[in-house]
């Protein structure tokens, strides 16, 4: 994926050098621990150039991950509107991105996510800082249950993406996206918004 040549002066090469340094920094120190200044030093460029190319640290992270979409924009679109249909909107938007031109980038991201310990750590940082940390307040969830709700919903969607776009198991791989929206949307809605069962005292059927 990284295009490397012997020369360095071209813009494209400088961008790649910065992105490579950024991936290493985010994986080693985490999103919060990695600074634009340190990344610039590692890439042997001026920090201003990093800002010039990529804007914020969030945007640099998205570029480093080659993310198919900006989770912040996705979350904005999902949070806007009737809270009773958050699940449906989330699943529909997710599938729209994956069924579209962003799908290939999504598959590459997932493959990379499980490639090795290093890329897995990078992906975990991405999920925690770009999705989880934002989704809890954006959807008005409380800090105690919110993270579990979001990770359950996200894990379901990762599973659907794995089955439909990576492993391509039929019929899930070619069923219309609205079929999945109709079945999985209510599940995501339930995970995000309905009362969670107290598994220590109540039977599982409470949640249905």
């Amino acid at each position: 994926m990284a295009r490397r040549t012997g020369r360095r002066p071209g813009n494209q090469d400088t961008r790649e050098v910065i992105l490579t340094a950024a991936r290493a920094a985010f994986a080693d120190k985490g999103f919060d621990g990695a600074s634009i200044r340190a990344i610039a030093t590692a890439a042997e460029v001026d920090p201003a150039l990093v800002h010039h190319y990529f804007g914020t640290k969030d945007k640099l992270f998205l570029a480093a991950m080659q993310a198919p979409m900006d989770p912040a924009e996705l979350l904005d679109a999902v949070a806007e509107g009737d809270l009773d249909q958050v699940g449906e909107r989330f699943v529909r938007l997710f599938l729209t991105i994956w069924d579209g031109p962003g799908g290939a980038a999504g598959v590459a991201l997932l493959r990379s996510a499980v490639g090795n310990e290093w890329t897995t750590r990078l992906f975990r940082e991405f999920v925690v800082t770009q999705i989880l940390r934002r989704a809890v307040p954006k959807l008005g969830l409380d800090d105690e249950q919110g993270p579990l709700r979001i990770t359950l919903a996200a894990s379901h969607m990762v599973g659907v993406a794995m089955a439909r776009y990576v492993i391509k198991v039929e019929p899930l791989a070619s069923v219309p996206s609205e079929t999945i929206v109709a079945i999985v949307g209510p599940t995501v809605q339930r995970y995000l918004m309905d009362p969670l069962p107290d598994q220590s005292t109540s039977p599982p059927s409470v949640v249905r």
Copy 2:
């Protein structure tokens, strides 16, 4: 993962040679198209030796995949008992396997599944022939909706495995397994056994 040395006479080496030939055959020709005879020929051993080491073609496939469990046994355990609790039993058993000594093999299997096109094809064959094909009759599902039901439920569990055991996103990574059983069990139950919505005419809320 494959241990290769220069010599061949030892049993361990012969097993590995057979498993390597089996992986190639299952990936290239699919489970049904790959014969024990052809695998034996590729491994330069007698077919009787393949049977001696691995038993049936199903068992050879499981060994080639280094599967943490035999899906046939898992399905037997899930199908046995009250059909109202199939989802709960399925999730509990799945998590018991992954939380136990089989977990490392499961992670390796998932990593391998998305490693490249070749290993992905092998994993898809595994899912289709060892899980999907058996689960539909075992759970008494009809041929029309059964495959979608199973792939939806399986995709959810793959997503949980990805989040909990591979990417290790908190709090899902360390929450007690019974918490997941209580929340995800009813979802799997619904996917497997409840009426599916007709997404072309009904609103998604029908399924809740």
